[in-house]
Structures are given as C-alpha cells and as structure tokens.
C-alpha cells in the first residue's frame, strides 16, 4: 500500500469533505489557480470551481470576516492563512467576532481557519511562528495541531464538521517529511482526544505538533538505556484531553512538557499548573519544560537550530529526571 504524506492527508481530508457537503468551501490567498502556497488545494479549482475555491485579495481580516458571515448562514467555510504567522492580521475578527458569537447572542460559527505554522525550514521571523497560544487563551475557539498524516486527515474532517470555530495549525516542517499508510475507508479523529503515541512507564512527555517526533526519537534512544518514555500527543489544545494527560502523569510520576512555541505563556505552563493542582501527590520529580527561548524565531541555520527544541534536549532532561 502506498504511503501518504502529512500535506497530502490534509488535502485528502478537505477534498472528501468538499465532496460530501456542498456547503464546504475554501477561501484564501492563492488557493485557487496556484493551489495554495504549499499545494494543499492543488487540483481543487478544476474539481470544485472558482466559487468554492475562492482566490481572495490580500486581506486576512476580511477572509476571516467573510468566513464568519458565510458560517452564520450555515455554510462551512475553510479559510486558509497562507502562513500561520499572518493570522495576526485577522486577530480581531477571530477573537472578538468568531469566538464570541455563540456566547454573546447564540449564533454558531462553524468554520475552520487553517494555516502552516512552525519552524525548521529557515523561514525567518514571519514564516515560522507558532501562534497557537493567542487563541488558546480566547474562550470560544478550538485549537488543533496534528503531528501525523492520520491525525491530520482525521482532524481536518472533524474540524469541518464541528459547530464552533476551529483553528487548525499544520506544521509545515512535517508536510513532506512524515508519511504513513492510511486506511482506504473513511475515518475521523475526534477533536479533544489526546493520543498516546508510545507507552512507557518512567517519564511522560506531553507534547504536540512537530515535537511529537523529537519525543519519539528520544524515546527510541532512551529505551536502550532502560528508560521508558510515554509520549502523549495532545493533538487538540482546546478542548484539552485532561484525562489522558493526568492518567499518564499518575502512572509515571515524572513529566516533561515539550513544545516548539516559546516559553513564557506557552502551553507547558498551563499543563504544569493543571498537574500541580490535580495530581501533585503522584509526582516524583520536578515538572520540566522544554520549549523555545523567549525570542522571535531567527533565520540563519545556526540561530534557528539553537532556537528549536531538539531530541538531544529531551534525552538530556529525561536522564536528569530518571536519576532524580
């Protein structure tokens, strides 16, 4: 059976949903004729036509605003941010309009905003960001960040079917680097469910996005030393799967919180507080964070390499915790 890349999996998920439901449409910059900057919508224009594959002006705020309007009418828009970094231009529409419609006046806004996030491709400060926490902090939004082709396909389909606005952060480093065989039958991955990507009894590594692969790589190395990591892939940041996180910590008693996003105000801090409140008595060591430093993400390879958390960081911190 052929393998499917992460980017192709997202493409397939979108394609299947557009085939299933005429109300689903995509809009964004260069999504039509060009097929999207990363070719997520390549071939869509020929299949679905220019109304449902809408090339827009350069206007992230109006792209999101228009998606909100269409969603209020019961359509299922999927808005693309060409790079997740550009979502800052649409911050107001997302956080004040989309996020609050249901709470303020009971109007559902079933829409998806997807975009490539993350570093490792020498994109520099404006093509590498991880903007998820701005939105994690806004009640009313759901935030998804898959790490595998299977999860990416299953989650984009669930996001499109969700009744609330979903931010779908695709890690662009993974687009063509991770691949796997996918089932030929249709499948969904539920929003709000974490996945234990590797079971282990010694240390929980709780992570998401591209860092899942660093954690798995570290787990492979450490297994040779007799240290078993349990890798918990959150997959969804909001709503967070508290049960899976807390069960893992209860089992291992030691925990590493790992993300590519910067440190202060990152998701790791939220997880650390949750663990301290709910399972403090199960802990056998300090809760450790591995994150990017509090800087913009730099361009030059040695700088970017320094910035991004690495497999060697996970190994180092895990050995420290194992000996604790």
């Amino acid at each position: 059976m052929a393998t499917t890349t992460y980017v192709e999996a997202i493409r397939q998920g979108l394609w299947e949903e557009m085939t299933r439901d005429d109300d689903v449409f995509v809009l964004g910059e260069d999504v039509g004729v060009y097929g999207g900057a990363f070719k997520v919508t390549a071939g869509f224009l020929d299949q679905f036509g220019e109304e449902r594959v809408m090339d827009t002006p350069l206007c992230e705020s109006a792209i999101v605003g228009a998606a909100i309007g269409a969603a209020l009418m019961g359509m299922r828009p999927v808005a693309e941010m060409q790079f997740a970094d550009f979502i800052s231009c649409a911050f107001d529409q997302i956080t004040n309009f989309a996020a609050k419609c249901r709470y303020r006046w009971g109007a559902g806004v079933p829409m998806v905003i997807r975009g490539p996030s993350g570093g490792g491709i020498h994109g520099g400060p404006f093509h590498s960001q991880n903007p998820e926490m701005y939105f994690v902090h806004t009640p009313g939004l759901k935030v998804v960040a898959p790490s595998t082709a299977y999860d990416a396909k299953g989650l984009i389909k669930s996001a499109i079917r969700d009744e609330d606005p979903v931010l779908f952060f695709e890690h662009k480093y993974l687009y063509r680097r991770v691949k796997e065989e996918l089932p030929s039958d249709e499948f969904l991955v539920p929003i709000g469910k974490a996945d234990v990507k590797r079971a282990g009894g010694d240390i929980s590594v709780i992570t998401y996005g591209a860092m899942v692969h660093n954690a798995l790589e570290a787990a492979g190395v450490l297994a040779g030393d007799g240290v078993e990591l349990e890798v918990v892939d959150l997959r969804t940041l909001v709503p967070m799967d508290k049960t899976t996180v807390l069960e893992s910590v209860k089992k291992t008693g030691k925990v590493i919180l790992l993300h590519e996003d910067t440190r202060t105000g990152g998701f790791a801090g939220e997880l650390a507080a949750l663990i301290a409140e709910e399972v403090f008595e199960y802990l056998d060591g300090p809760v450790m964070r591995i994150t990017a430093p509090d800087t913009p993400i730099p361009y030059s390879p040695p700088l970017e390499e320094f910035f991004l958390p690495k497999t060697s960081d996970v190994i180092r911190v895990a050995r420290h915790l194992a000996a604790y």
Binding site: C59, G65, G69
Partner: protein, 341 residues
C-alpha cells in the same frame, strides 16, 4: 414619488417608536439607574435605519450598528426584549450576555455587531457571498458610521465585496462626529461616498434626515444587488443630536450645529410631509403617538419585572457541546462547594 401609504405610515411608526424607546432609556431609565451599562442612541438619525430596512424581504439580512434602533425593531425584535437587554435581564435579546445595542438573532437575520466598529463589514460580505453561492436573491444591509470608514476592516470588506460582486448595500450614517472627533480630523474628504470609487461600486450621498431620500437610494441599491449588480455605498448625511453616549454631554460640539440640525429633525419633517400630502391626518399622527407611548409604557413595565439571569449562566454557551469544554469544566468544579469537602 412617495412609497405606498402603508409603508409611509410604517416608516413614521418605527421612527417614532425608536425615538420613544431611546428617549425612555436615555432620559429616564438610565438616570434612574435601571440601565446597568452604557447608552448610545440614534436621536436625529432615525430616518436612516428605518428608510432602508423597511423594504427588506424576510430572508434578507441586516448588520446594524449602534445608532440603528429602527432596523432592530423592523426586523422583529420587541420593545420589551430591547428594554430587557438594556437592563441586563434574562429576557433580553442576548439573555444578559451582551449590552445595549449589541443585539443579534439569526432567526430574524440580525447580526450582532462588536464594538470594534467596521468588523461587520467583511462579515456582511460573507453573508452576501453565501446568498450568491446558494443562488438566493437576497441582500445584506450593512450599517456603520463615519468613523468606521477609517478602519482597515472597512476597506478590506468593501474591496472583497466588490471583487466578488456580492449582494450587499453599505449604509453610512455620517453624523459628523466619531465620539469627540469631527469629520475633518477623521478623513481628508467631505463626502464618504467618494470612497466607493476606489472599489468601483456606485456611491451616492443623500440627505439622511429625509426618509424618502434614504428609501429611494436604498431601493435602487437593493435592486441592483438583487439582480447580481454587486455592492453599493450610500452615505446618509445626518447629525448626532446627542453626545457619543449618555455619559457624554457633547460639549465639544458647537451649539449652533445642534440648533441648525434640530430644525431638520427627520420625524417632524416626515410627519409634516405626510399631513401635507394627506397620507395621514393630524389626528392620525396624534393617535399613533399615543399608541406608541402606551406600547413603550407596557414594555418598560414588563421588562422591569423580568428576572435577571442566574449567575451560573455565566458558564453556558461558549461552545455548542459543553461536555468537551475544559475551561468551563474547571470553572464549574472550582466554584462547586463539593470541591472543598
């Protein structure tokens, strides 16, 4: 030429009803401490929302702003629900979740605006896009003031609507002040309608205190939009006959301007015209006023006796499915007395 007689009478009714409700809110209930938050009224501007939204069909949609009371009423919100909204009551349009004019209900095709003015402009374009994609012959009326046209979302929204040729009519109430900032500090042009040229859409300026002028300009723009001709911009020149809100006395506005525009009051003008053209008698007008006073009296008394929301409702309605809502689950357990047992 005047619209048909029923429309003429209805326009007077909704203008007068808006004025009465807002006067009651601003000059009585607010001062009595019965309105818990801010008050923004459209006194002197009633012709704009009424003369435009009166001609919509049921499946058309409006995106009103904070000086468009008439549009909310015409689309079917009751005076009681509006008053209860201002009082933060459970029976208010948003059940106490939102303040004053931030009212919306998709069953009535009313979109609730946010305080970041002009945000509804691209949203209106998206609603119109849905009409176009579904081959519905419906239109969106999108309202805003002069200040909103300085914002980026306004320009992005008009541009997108124009490129996609979607059925939306953009209606500006140019009341010449954005809070305390007069028009000349807001923009280097006198007529907002010329902004339409940049988006290759029709742009007209009309007397916003003449309900027939608003009606006629809107009729043409709606007809164009319904027939696939794309969006239009209508600038309605008017004047804000109050401060920005009930806590602002507007002392920065030259008194002569209030006097000058007071003489152009849209309700008085319309009444006079209807009597002159024998659409209504003086007695008809008096009876209408009496009826409105009674209606509002009754609505006020009902709203005053309506219940406030239960505190626990704070946690409701963030997501469609509350069972998956982690922050709410936290809050619920945190505030639960059982937590500490």
């Amino acid at each position: 030429m005047l619209p048909d007689k029923k429309v003429c009478r209805d326009m007077l009714y909704y203008m007068k009803l808006s004025r009465e409700i807002e006067t009651r809110i601003e000059r009585k209930l607010y001062r009595q401490g019965k309105i818990v938050g801010g008050v923004y009224v459209g006194r002197g501007q009633e012709a704009i929302s009424v003369g435009s939204s009166i001609q919509l069909e049921q499946d058309d949609c409006i995106c009103p702003s904070h000086r468009d009371m008439g549009a909310f009423l015409i689309r079917g919100l009751s005076a009681r629900a509006v008053l209860a909204q201002y009082m933060g009551k459970k029976t208010g349009v948003t059940r106490g979740k939102e303040a004053n004019m931030h009212m919306g209900d998709m069953r009535h095709k009313i979109v609730a605006f946010v305080s970041m003015l002009a945000d509804t402009v691209p949203v209106a374009a998206g609603i119109a896009l849905a009409y176009k994609m579904r081959r519905q012959r419906n239109v969106v009326l999108c309202y805003f003031g002069d200040g909103a046209t300085s914002r980026g979302d306004w320009h992005e929204g008009l541009n997108l609507a124009a490129v996609q040729r979607v059925p939306v009519v953009f209606l500006c109430n140019n009341n010449q002040y954005a809070y305390s900032t007069p028009l000349e500090k807001q923009m280097p042009i006198r007529d907002i309608s010329i902004r339409a040229q940049g988006y290759a859409m029709p742009g007209v300026t009309v007397d916003g205190n003449d309900v027939t002028a608003v009606y006629e300009a809107t009729r043409e723009a709606v007809e164009l939009a319904r027939n696939g001709g794309g969006p239009s911009l209508i600038e309605c020149k008017t004047f804000r006959m109050t401060g920005h809100s009930a806590h602002d006395d507007g002392r920065y506005v030259p008194k002569e301007l209030f006097e000058e525009w007071g003489k152009k009051d849209p309700i008085l003008r319309w009444e006079t015209r209807l009597i002159r053209d024998r659409v209504m008698s003086e007695r008809d007008v008096r009876e209408m006023a009496t009826r409105i006073t009674q209606e509002v009296d009754q609505a006020v008394s009902l709203a005053e006796n309506d219940p406030l929301p239960d505190p626990e409702e704070t946690l409701e309605g963030v997501y469609a499915d509350q069972s998956v809502d982690a922050p709410l689950a936290f809050a619920a357990s945190f505030f639960s007395p059982d937590r500490w047992r």
